[in-house]
Symmetry: C2
Amino acid sequence: MDIKDYMAALGRGARAAASDVAASSTEQRNAALLAARRRLDQAREALTHANEQDLARGRSNGLDAALLDRLALTPARIDTMLEGLRQVADLPDPVASISDMRTMPSGIQVGRMRVPLGVIGIIYESRPNVTVEAASLCLKSGNATILRGGSEAIESNAAIAACLRDALTEVGLPAAAIQVLDTPDRAAVGELITMPEYVDVIVPRGGKGLIERISADARVPVIKHLDGVCHVYIDSGADPSMATDIAINAKTQRYGTCNTMETLLVAQSEAATLLPSLASAYAEHGVELRGCEQTLEIVPGLQQATEEDWHAEYLAPILAIKVVADIDAAMAHIATYSSQHTDTIVTRDHSRAMRFLREVDSSSVMVNASTRFADGFEYGLGAEIGISTDKLHARGPVGLEGLTSQKYVVLGDGQIRT
Amino acid sequence: MDIKDYMAALGRGARAAASDVAASSTEQRNAALLAARRRLDQAREALTHANEQDLARGRSNGLDAALLDRLALTPARIDTMLEGLRQVADLPDPVASISDMRTMPSGIQVGRMRVPLGVIGIIYESRPNVTVEAASLCLKSGNATILRGGSEAIESNAAIAACLRDALTEVGLPAAAIQVLDTPDRAAVGELITMPEYVDVIVPRGGKGLIERISADARVPVIKHLDGVCHVYIDSGADPSMATDIAINAKTQRYGTCNTMETLLVAQSEAATLLPSLASAYAEHGVELRGCEQTLEIVPGLQQATEEDWHAEYLAPILAIKVVADIDAAMAHIATYSSQHTDTIVTRDHSRAMRFLREVDSSSVMVNASTRFADGFEYGLGAEIGISTDKLHARGPVGLEGLTSQKYVVLGDGQIRT
């Protein structure tokens, strides 16, 4: 079949299924999640077999070790997948809750009801566990979803899709509520992101290159973050031990995550006392430092940071360090180089803390806490489909609420407008 | 100057001004609004003179009477403009308010702070009063704005812009926080909607054609509604007098507004008793009726409604009427033909009321109230920049809150992630 026709058929199916899912009860959607859990558990052998085919093809195509690792559906990963389904079933249902109900002078009552977005397209790389994770969050929030995973995982995803489809049918929901693309054709992505009549929003998950391409070509709104160039600013007069703990944790707790600090800004007044001990602590963790001129004067022998370093999302044990005059210089640096993901100030000064919170235009802004906390679970959202640095709709970690919208509901007893 | 360079210069100016406006105090922004009010009041003569130039050119270009009427800055319209500025100054400031603050198990406190969107582009037709209205809402909500009014109003808008600019400067805010395009070149719109680096969101106000073109070409998110094909469904067993009042009010209170009913759906059980008296009431208002076959059997002599009528936004004293079997048929009709603006059920049945609220996917869904209530003022938003039928970000009447976003704020006392 022509790829345009194939995608349009998928889209029509998803659009039709979306109304049924939106109108379904919490119990029905939770039952589908638990049925999916049971069916995936029973299908462990089939999943492993399908995954082995993907892995074998990947090896013969020369995929690198990191990619093969992400592709692998180990028994432990399957366990985590199943546990995730149970957790999502346990989350409160955001759909149809009414809030902010107020009686207006005309006598009408006006409130807002949370409603699903409709059809959500997810584009991701070759990590089959994401198929279950994303599908479960979309279903729980009353949406239909079309999933497009990396072509390297096509057999694994097909095996997972069969379980999800059967679970939907089992509880009386349309199988088209969760559709997994079964074509490796890259043109399918191009179609998916340009069908606003069938798809309400695209959530891309993956590298910056993938997300940039999708954002540039999409005719459907995209919820995304491109990269995480996160900063910690150690303010003048900051508690040195707190500053050290946060600066070390924000960089070294994990290197490959988007909320890891990539540039450390240090107020001039603290630089001479803090930087030498920080440099030794980073050295113990094997973190390579790249400093501005002033940093190099205090910690000789470091590589000098270039303009590129201030822009860099290393995702690796490398850190750029800059000495700044004060909070204004720190915020100016952040305004220029931050990817508006997560930025932290370590300070004892209340008014500077409040200025930082107010004026730094990032999706998460923190006082005296590690950037590593920017995460749906740590924020109490229960789950996370991604982190958004966009300004419209959702900003910061996106949980079930970010997969819904609010419509106005009006209750009257015959009011007319005069 | 080349139009691309001109627009990029405007965009850079707006982007730079946006941070200052976002960081400004409530008092400062209110002072700017009141200064604008005073300056516009003092400039009445200059405004009228500029407007007369626009009107004279419009007349010699053969503009129709309705367009000339909208273009006219009468003394009464200037009064309304000034009163609007005072009202916007009096509204609560949404910027920087923190909500939903919760302490998480890690000890961090997580909340959400309301922040301006940044730079808002407004594209509208030749109504100079919209310049003041839109600029004031954007300024109050901490945003910079670039306004592009219809070229017929270019002199009037320039005169208004001078007052707004002087008011900003007077209170120490950058004049670039409100910029009004002074070129009639249509290519400027094309630039404005494709500069995501400078513009965060576009709000188009005008006819469906204009908004469709903008949405199709925009590379910046658009907050919009295309049209208002609104329905009233009179349910089986509805109170006949309430049903009549609402059906008459929703159609006849004003014909040209987007929340006016365009199609009336009547449950079969009520049709024979209700339609004859409704038809006479509409006849008294001079409303032309177009009915389905069943309607014509009950009220003979009407024009038969065609497929086009179910899609029509008449904005005129014309109404399409359809008899439907029950609420399911009514909701199926609405799902097919509604523009997802505003739909109402008139009913005495609680469970059908709740089904309608839940299942009708429109930006406003009502029970026992006239569709004409779908409006920012009637909903208590204090003001309205427009009504959105989009699903992302804002749905329904959009007030100051819709011109803002929320970022996460985290307060810690040294927490690190383990």
